[in-house]
C-alpha cells in the first residue's frame, strides 16, 4: 500500500490529494491535510477522481481508421503515418494549413512541447486550447488593464477578507474548495455580495444578491462605479499614483445612474448603491468572477469593468484584495502560461516581437513563424473555407464543448486528416483518422498550475494502462519521426527548458516544488519564493489603465419566436464534456441525465410539469431535455448544463464571438421551449 501525493485533475482549485496504490491498481483517494488550497477537504469529484483511471473504456492502443472502421495499430505504424501525412500537407499547402489544439487537462510540460511542436516542427502559430472558451477574455482584458492576466491574489487569503464580491461564479458548485474559504470568511464576519442571475448555493449566503439579467454585467458594474464616484468613495491618491486614463473613464461612467440601470439589469437601485458603498469602504475586499463574466460577446468589456472597479477603490496590490478570476480547468492557467495560444510563447512573450522570436529560434534551432495564428473557433471557420486541412487535437472534445456543434462537426468532417490524442473514445475521437492513446494524470509526472498561479507537481502512481503513453512522450516520438529530435528523458528536463526561456517561471524547477506545496509565479530566480499576490508596488505594465466600456446588449436577445434566454454552464457532479465524470459511478448515479432548470412561473405558462420532457430550440438546433422546475432561475431564463452529449446544450449555444478575445457567448442565447407530447 503506497500513497502517492498528486493534484486533482478536475477544476482549477488544484487540490492536493493522495492516490492509494496497491499492486499497480488505484484503490482510493484521500485529501492532503495541510494543503494550502483544500486543507484536508475534497469535493465529490475529488473524492471519486480515481475511478475512471483504470476504466475498461480506456484507449489502450493506437487506432487507425480504414474504410470507416478503426483497427488496432502499432505505435511505429501510427507515428509513421502521422508524420508522412503531416509532412505531406505541410509541403503541399504550407504549415498554416495545419491546426493544433492543446489541452488544459495536460501538464505544463506537455503544453509547452505541444506549442514547440506546432511552432518549431510544423512551423505554424495555429495553436490554441480551451482557454479560448473560458478565460481568453480575462487573459486579454487584464493584460490591457494590468499587464498580467491571472488571478491577482491567493486562495488562503480569502478566509481573512472582510468583503467578498462574487460575480458570475457558481463557486460552491464549480470551485467548492474556494467556496469553503469563502464560508470561513463569512463565519469570521465577512460580507458577501453576489451578482448572479441564478439563485446559486453561494447566493443563499449573500447579504446582497443582485439578480441581474444575463448579459447586463457591464451596466451593473458601471452603475456600481457610478455610485462610488458620485459618493466620493474613490481612492484618489491611488488612482493618481498608480493608474492612468481616469478622466475619460469617468465621463463614460457618469451615464450609468443606478435608477436608469435598474431598468436594464433588473437590479433595484437600492441594492446597487448598498453594494457599491460596502465594496468601496471595506479595506479588504476581494472580487471574484468566472464564466458569468467572460463567456459573452462583451467578455473583454466585462473583465475590464471588473478591473476598473478594483482599481477605482484601490482593492488591488494588497493581500486580501484583488481581482480574482477563477479558472475552470486543472491546468488552464498553465496551458496559457506555456503559450498554447496563437499569439504568445511561454510566459506571454509575443510571437510578433522579433526579440522574443529570435530567443526561441535560437533555443529551438528552428525558424519560427511571425504572424499570429488562428484561434480555436476561427480554425473551424478556416477548415470550412478549405484553408486548414489537418488538425491535431490533444485531450479536448470540441464536439461537445464548442458552441454550435453542428457547425464544428461539418468542419471536422471536411478535414483531410484529423489526429486525436485522448484517454477515452470521445465524440471527437470517433470522427478522427487516427487516435493516439494517452495516459491520465495518475500515470505521468509533470506540473499543473492552479487558478492562484501555484505550480504543483503531479506524480505517477501507476504504470500507463495498456500501450498508452504520457502525452509528452507521444509528442516527442512524433516530433522525432518528423525529423526534429526533442531529446527529453524526463519531464524535469522539459521544465528546465521552460525555466530558461520563461522569465515568470525562471525559478520553477521540479526539485523546488516538493517543499511547501509548489510555487506561485512570477518566480524570477532560483531562490525566489514565489508571489502570493500580484501588482504590489506597481502594475505589471507600469500604470494600471482604466478602460472605459459601454454597455452592449448580448448578440441574441429574446423575441417572439425565441422568447427565453438560455444560459449554459456546469453543475456540481459533472465536469465539462463528461469523459471522466460520466465514467465514475457515484457521479453518474447522482445526476444521470440532463435537466433544464426553469422557473415555476414559466413552467406554468408552458404547462410543463416537473421532470417532463421539453424540446428546446434555438436558431442553430434543438435538443430534448427534462424540465426541472425550480426558483433557482429567474423568469424568462432557463439553464442547461453542457456535460451531456445526448442533450448537448452547445447544439443551441450562439457562436457569436467577442471581437478581441474570440470567446463565444455561451451565457446568453434565445430559445423557444415546447412541451413534448
Amino acid at each position: 500500500m503506497d500513497k502517492v501525493s498528486t493534484i486533482c485533475p478536475y477544476c482549477g482549485c488544484g487540490c492536493g490529494l493522495y492516490l492509494h496504490v496497491e499492486n499497480n491498481s488505484i484503490s482510493g483517494v484521500s485529501p492532503v491535510r495541510n494543503h494550502p488550497v483544500n486543507k484536508g477537504s475534497l469535493c465529490v469529484k475529488g473524492w471519486n477522481c480515481f475511478e475512471f483511471i483504470q476504466h475498461p473504456d480506456r484507449l489502450t492502443y493506437p487506432l487507425i481508421k480504414e474504410k470507416g472502421l478503426f483497427r488496432r495499430a502499432s505505435w511505429d505504424e501510427v507515428l509513421r503515418l502521422i508524420a508522412t501525412k503531416l509532412s505531406g500537407i505541410k509541403k503541399s499547402s504550407g504549415p498554416d494549413s495545419i491546426g493544433v489544439i492543446s489541452s488544459a487537462k495536460c501538464t505544463n510540460e506537455e503544453n509547452y512541447l505541444m506549442m514547440k511542436f506546432a511552432r518549431a516542427v510544423i512551423g505554424t502559430n495555429n495553436i490554441d486550447h480551451c482557454a479560448r472558451l473560458c478565460h481568453s477574455s480575462t487573459v486579454g482584458g487584464l493584460a490591457g488593464a494590468f499587464g498580467s492576466g491571472a488571478m491577482t491574489n491567493s486562495l488562503n487569503e480569502i478566509a481573512d477578507a472582510r468583503l467578498l464580491f462574487v460575480i458570475g461564479s457558481n463557486t460552491t458548485e464549480q470551485h467548492p474548495m474556494i467556496a469553503m474559504h469563502m464560508l470561513d470568511a463569512l463565519n469570521k464576519g465577512a460580507i458577501l455580495i453576489v451578482a448572479d442571475p441564478r439563485k446559486t448555493q453561494i447566493a443563499e449566503f449573500a447579504h446582497i444578491h443582485m439578480k441581474h439579467r444575463p448579459g447586463t454585467d457591464v451596466a451593473l458594474l458601471n452603475s456600481v462605479m457610478n455610485v462610488i464616484i458620485n459618493e466620493g468613495l474613490v481612492d484618489i491618491s491611488y488612482v493618481k499614483r498608480r493608474t492612468e486614463n481616469f478622466d475619460i473613464f469617468r465621463e463614460t461612467i457618469m451615464k450609468y445612474v443606478p435608477e436608469v440601470v435598474e431598468k436594464t439589469t433588473g437590479v433595484p437601485a437600492r441594492d446597487i448603491k448598498k453594494a457599491a458603498r460596502l465594496y468601496a469602504t471595506e479595506r479588504r475586499s476581494m472580487l471574484f468572477y468566472a464564466m458569468g463574466i467572460t463567456q459573452h460577446v462583451t467578455g473583454v468589456d466585462n473583465v475590464c469593468s471588473c478591473a476598473n472597479l478594483a482599481m477605482l477603490t484601490a482593492h488591488i496590490g494588497l493581500p486580501m484584495t484583488g481581482l480574482n478570476p477563477l479558472r475552470g480547468q486543472n491546468n488552464v492557467q498553465g496551458a496559457c502560461d506555456m503559450g498554447a495560444l496563437p499569439d504568445v510563447y511561454s510566459g506571454y512573450q509575443k510571437v510578433a516581437d522579433t526579440k522574443m522570436r529570435r530567443k526561441f529560434e535560437m533555443a529551438w534551432m528552428a525558424r519560427l513563424p511571425s504572424t499570429q495564428g488562428l484561434t480555436l473557433i476561427e480554425m473551424f471557420d478556416s477548415v470550412l473555407k478549405g484553408k486548414i486541412k489537418a488538425m491535431y487535437i490533444m485531450g479536448e472534445n470540441p464536439l461537445i464543448s464548442d458552441p454550435d456543434i453542428n457547425y464544428v462537426l461539418d468542419a471536422m468532417k471536411k478535414l483531410d486528416f484529423l489526429i486525436v490524442q485522448d484517454v477515452f473514445m470521445s465524440d471527437t475521437a470517433e470522427i478522427a483518422d487516427v487516435i493516439l492513446p494517452a495516459a491520465t494524470f495518475a500515470e505521468k509526472d509533470g506540473t499543473f498550475t492552479n487558478t492562484e498561479r501555484r505550480v504543483q507537481k503531479i506524480r505517477a502512481a501507476i504504470k500507463p494502462v495498456g500501450e498508452s503513453r504520457p502525452d509528452w512522450e507521444i509528442i516527442c516520438a512524433l516530433s522525432k519521426e518528423m525529423g526534429y529530435d526533442m531529446q527529453y528523458k524526463a519531464t524535469y528536463e522539459i521544465m528546465e527548458e521552460i525555466a530558461l526561456l520563461t522569465p515568470i517561471y525562471r525559478g520553477i524547477l521540479h526539485h523546488r516544488l516538493d517543499e511547501n506545496y509548489g510555487l506561485q509565479w512570477p518566480c524570477t530566480d532560483i531562490t525566489h519564493r514565489g508571489t502570493p499576490f500580484l501588482h504590489k508596488k506597481k502594475f505589471a505594465k507600469g500604470l494600471g489603465s482604466f478602460i472605459p466600456v459601454d454597455f452592449i446588449p448580448p448578440a441574441e436577445t429574446p423575441d417572439k419566436k425565441f422568447p427565453f434566454i438560455l444560459t449554459t454552464g456546469r453543475m456540481y457532479f459533472h465536469y465539462h464534456t463528461g469523459t471522466m465524470c460520466r465514467r465514475t459511478s457515484t457521479l453518474e448515479r447522482e445526476y444521470p441525465e440532463c435537466l433544464m432548470e426553469i422557473n415555476p412561473a414559466d413552467a406554468d405558462s408552458l404547462s410543463v410539469k416537473n421532470m417532463e420532457k421539453v424540446k428546446v430550440t434555438s436558431r442553430r438546433g434543438s435538443i430534448i431535455v427534462r424540465a426541472y422546475v425550480t426558483d433557482k432561475t429567474a423568469e424568462g431564463v432557463v439553464f442547461i448544463p453542457f456535460h451531456f452529449k445526448e442533450a448537448a446544450a452547445n447544439l443551441l449555444a450562439n457562436p457569436a464571438l467577442d471581437p478581441d478575445a474570440k470567446i463565444p457567448e455561451y451565457k446568453v442565447c434565445a430559445v423557444n421551449i415546447e412541451p413534448v407530447k
Partner: protein, 344 residues
C-alpha cells in the same frame, strides 16, 4: 494489567524489522511536508509516532475505497480475496475502537468474506495517544486515548520505554516469539503509565457530550428546520462519510469489456447523496439535503447505540478537518447540546 511488559525503545526497530519479515508493515509515515499517512514502510526509522493524526483513517486498509470482488468471463468466475498478512503499527486508540466496531458491523448478521479475509490477516499495534489534535474528542466517549480491551497489542510511551499490553492471541504470539526483548513491568512502570494516561487526558481541547445530544434528539426537540439550516452549508462532498473510520456503506458495480470479461467491485458510497436510496421511477426518499444529514446523525447517535451499544462515532475528529461547510459531528453535536443548556 497484570501481565504488562516493558520494551526498551532501542529494541523497537529490531522487533519491527523481525516482524516485517513475515508480514507487510504499515505505519504512519510523513508524506510531503507535514502530512501523516499510513503506508507500507520502507525505512523503519521513517515511522512517526509523535505526530498529528493520520488523515485517512486506517479503515481503507481493511475496507478499501474500491475493492475488486470477483473477475468473470463467459466461462468462469474467479473470486478475488486479499489475504496479505499485514501488521499495522502505530494506530491510535480511537481508530482501534473503530476497527472493533467495524468487525461487529461486518460479521454480526452477515459475515462479509472480503472484509474478514483482510481482517483475519491483519494485526494491529495501537498506541496510547499522548498527542491529541485540537479536533480530537475521543476522551469523553471511552474510545481513547487509551484502551482497556479490544486491541491486539497496545503500547504506552513512558519515556525511554514502552509499556506493552496484549489483549489477543495473535498479539501475544508476536511477543512470545521475541520474548527476549521484553521484561516484566515493575510497579514504577505502572505508575509512569498511569501518569502518562492522566496527562494525555488533560491535553484534549474539545469535550463533546454525544449522550446529551442523543437525549435531546430522542426527546424530539430538534426540528427539521434545524437540519435544513445545517444542510445549507453542506457541499455534498461525502467527506464526512469517506473519512469516518466507522462508515462502511458501499455500492456494488460491474465493469465489463466488449468480449464479456469483466470485474465486479465495490466502492465506498455515502448516505449524503440523493442517489444513495434512489428507487425505480427516479424516486428519492431523502430528496432534501437536510433529511440526509439528519439521517446520518440519527444513525451515528441513535441507531448505532441501539444496535451495537456504542455511538457510531469514536471522536477521531476527521470530519471536523474534512468538512468544507464546518458542519461536522463535533460542531453539530455540540450545537445541539449547548442549545439545550441555553434554553434552560
Amino acid at each position: 494489567m497484570k501481565n504488562s511488559l516493558i520494551l526498551d525503545k532501542n529494541y523497537l526497530s529490531y522487533w519491527l524489522r523481525q516482524l516485517r519479515k513475515k508480514m507487510s508493515l504499515i505505519a504512519p509515515v510523513r508524506a510531503g511536508n507535514t502530512d501523516i499517512v499510513f503506508k507500507t514502510v520502507e525505512n523503519i526509522h521513517e515511522i512517526e509516532l509523535d505526530c498529528p493524526a493520520s488523515m485517512p483513517s486506517p479503515k481503507g486498509l481493511l475496507f478499501p475505497q474500491k475493492e475488486d470482488m470477483f473477475k468473470f468471463s463467459k466461462e468462469e468466475i474467479n473470486i478475488v480475496r486479499d489475504n496479505t498478512r499485514r501488521l499495522i503499527f502505530g494506530v491510535r486508540s480511537c481508530d482501534m475502537s473503530a476497527v472493533a466496531l467495524l468487525d461487529k458491523f461486518f460479521s454480526k448478521d452477515f459475515v462479509d468474506g472480503y472484509y474478514m479475509s483482510r481482517r483475519e490477516n491483519t494485526i494491529f499495534i495501537s498506541i496510547v495517544c499522548n498527542n491529541p489534535d485540537p479536533t480530537c474528542f475521543c476522551v469523553g466517549l471511552g474510545t481513547g486515548p487509551f484502551l482497556k480491551s479490544g486491541f491486539d497489542i497496545q503500547l504506552t510511551d513512558i519515556g525511554d520505554r514502552y509499556m506493552v499490553e496484549t489483549d489477543s492471541k495473535e498479539g501475544a504470539a508476536l511477543i512470545k516469539e521475541y520474548h527476549y526483548l521484553f521484561s516484566k513491568a515493575k510497579r514504577s512502570d505502572y505508575e509512569d503509565q498511569y501518569e502518562t494516561i492522566l496527562s494525555s487526558q488533560t491535553r484534549f481541547e474539545k469535550r463533546i457530550n454525544l449522550e446529551n445530544a442523543r437525549q435531546k434528539i430522542l426527546s424530539e426537540r430538534i426540528s427539521d428546520a434545524f437540519w435544513e439550516w445545517v444542510s445549507k452549508k453542506c457541499f455534498e462532498c461525502g467527506g464526512c462519510v469517506y473519512e469516518c473510520p466507522l462508515c462502511a456503506c458501499f455500492n456494488v458495480l460491474d465493469r465489463c469489456d466488449s468480449e464479456g470479461n469483466g470485474i465486479r467491485f465495490r466502492i465506498w458510497d455515502t448516505c449524503m447523496f440523493k442517489g444513495f436510496t434512489k428507487m425505480a421511477g427516479n424516486i428519492c426518499p431523502a430528496e432534501k439535503k437536510g433529511t440526509r444529514i439528519k439521517r446520518w446523525y440519527f444513525h451515528k447517535l441513535i441507531y448505532y447505540p441501539e444496535q451495537f451499544g456504542k455511538f457510531g462515532c469514536v471522536g477521531c475528529g476527521r470530519c471536523t478537518i474534512t468538512c468544507p461547510g464546518r458542519i461536522d459531528m463535533a460542531t453539530i453535536a455540540h450545537r445541539i447540546d449547548i442549545g439545550n443548556r441555553r434554553r434552560r
